[in-house]
Amino acid sequence: MLIIEDISFSYGQKPVITHLSTEIGKKEFFGIIGPNGSGKSTLVKLIIGILKASSGRILIDGADIRRMPENQLSKEISYLPSGFDIYFPYTVEEFLSMGRFPYTGRYGKLEHKDREIIEAALVEFDIKNLRQRNLMELSEGEQQRVFLAQVVIQETSWILLDEPTSHLDIAHSYRIMDVLKELTSRGITVISVLHDLNLASEYCTKILLLGGGNIISAGPPDDVITYSNIEQAYKTKVLVYKNPYSQKPHVFGIPSSLLKESTRL
């Protein structure tokens, strides 16, 4: 169980998150949605310890993340940032090996077990044929699979992702989400910031809708993805219908030229 207890954070004078509390259960596929600047990425960075909350605390299985040695936290939670700027031509295999760092110690020497874990991930993410390729030269879909494989290689029970599908087309996006869902069935908890409300609705077991630094709604997709919640958070008119195939709520935007004057927000 991951418990976020009354945390606040501000960049300088500007408060980003104010007195936010929530709980994330094991094996959950937990989506964090909300408009730009609502504090989604900040919340994730607070959990991973990149940013320090000005008040409140975050507990993982009862342990305060601030009191944990950094090496311990890296065995509990792994993190995929929203963007990577790679300046040096690492091969896929070299890049994946870095994911074992929490276990190899300072010198980064890989043991037999580490190599087995890397091999398994190469197969699982269908990147075995890319292992000697330069990471910078891969397509975005391939890169994202490599990044995700590195996170899985870290062997943590919690995985945090910041918009893992943001550069991907619909096919690649669904593929990545399938992989993440599969991870939850293995007992891993996935916590992901998602831009695409419909993807969140299709895959997440629980969704946190942020707006103005606090929670507007939290719960299963059917409770959170409602037109009133979305309109309140995003300040725009939407329609919500169910996907006939999955029965999950889907959000449709409406061009403002089609709206009558009275219904515009």
């Binding site: 960075k45 991973i48 310890g49 990149i50 950094e70 090496n71 311990q72 936290l73 890296s74 065995k75 939670i77 792994s78 993190y79 940032p81 990577f84 700027d85 790679i86 300046y87 040096f88 031509p89 690492y90 091969t91 070299e94 890049f95 870095m98 994911g99 760092f101 929490p102 190899t104 300072r106 010198y107 980064g108 870290q154 945090l160």
Partner: protein, 297 residues
């Protein structure tokens, strides 16, 4: 100094003078050339990883310039032995300026290098000012030393510089995995359990010590710290555990070679080695700049 040719037969029966030339002048110069080339290349590779900037090195960041100003201040005080300390302090000063400004202004990679170049100009004008005011007979030799020349260093620096640069380099080699991870991003490094502030601080201080000694021995030698890391990466891959030792050896050999060229190219005139590395390095630097995909200006 000068140019003295040694044949095999002469090597086998060395006269007193020959011995002096070989062991007191040539050998220290080769050792100094090697350790300076090695030090500049290793620090270049480390700075590139830590700053995530393929154009970074002690010269382009203005660290060498800071060290040379430190040396001048040290010379004003008249104590030869304190020079490496002052070089170190000068290097630390310029790193601090760079880190302070870049953290407040969120500079792009290219802008950071521009800042380094500006610092270099600033420091070198201070250096010239001090040298001009000093008005002593050492003006020309000091100038020749500081513009990159492996024949003007005080002999007693050589041993401590060699030992310290070697030991620090070993430590940096052993931290190779950490530099791999830091080079893919701060956030990722934190999530992999690296104390990024501490590692960066240690790296900068160690690089400044090395650069301080390098500049104390050979003045400002530019671009070695860019050329060699790029070549090493090409041949030995990007992981720092492999390419840092490669940088050490390749950088050392490279500078010994260019120093030999500088001594023998226009016989009997000695060209400062900094001129040779600057020439090739400048072309290399331009090539990287033109080839890079980022449009940051």
């Amino acid at each position: 100094m000068g140019t003295e040719t040694f044949g095999i037969s002469r090597l086998l029966s060395l006269s007193e003078i020959d011995r002096l030339i070989l062991f007191r002048i040539r050998m220290p110069r080769v050792i100094a050339g090697f350790i300076v080339g090695a030090g500049l290349s290793v620090t270049g590779a480390v700075l590139q990883a830590v700053l995530r900037n393929p154009l970074a090195e002690s010269y382009t960041l203005g660290i060498s310039g800071g060290a040379s100003l430190g040396i001048c201040v040290g010379m004003l005080l008249g104590q030869i032995t304190v020079i490496p300390y002052f070089a170190f302090l000068g290097a630390i000063a310029s790193v601090s300026i760079i880190l302070l400004v870049s953290s407040q202004k969120r500079f792009s990679n290219t802008t950071l290098i521009l800042l380094g170049v500006a610092l270099n100009f600033l420091f070198s004008s201070f250096v010239l000012f001090i040298l001009a005011v000093m008005k002593n007979d050492r003006f020309q030799s000091t100038l020749l030393w500081l513009i990159g020349n492996i024949s003007y260093f005080p002999a007693k620096f050589l041993f401590p510089a060699t030992v310290i640069i070697f030991l620090i380099s070993i430590y940096l080699f052993s931290s190779g995995s950490i530099y791999d991870i830091i080079s893919i991003g701060d956030e990722k490094a934190v999530s992999l359990g690296i104390n990024i502030e501490r590692e960066k601080r240690i790296s900068f201080i160690l690089c400044c010590i090395i650069v301080g000694f390098c500049v104390s021995l050979a003045g400002i030698i530019g671009f070695v710290g860019i050329i060699i890391p790029h070549i090493s990466r090409f041949f030995f891959g990007s992981t720092h555990r492999k390419n840092l030792p490669a940088n050490f050896i390749a950088g050392g050999s490279f500078l010994v070679l260019t120093d030999t060229i500088s001594r023998t190219l226009i016989n009997p005139v000695e060209i400062p080695v900094g001129v040779i590395t600057g020439f090739f390095g400048g072309i290399f630097f331009l090539a990287i700049l033109l080839r890079s995909k980022q449009r940051e200006f």
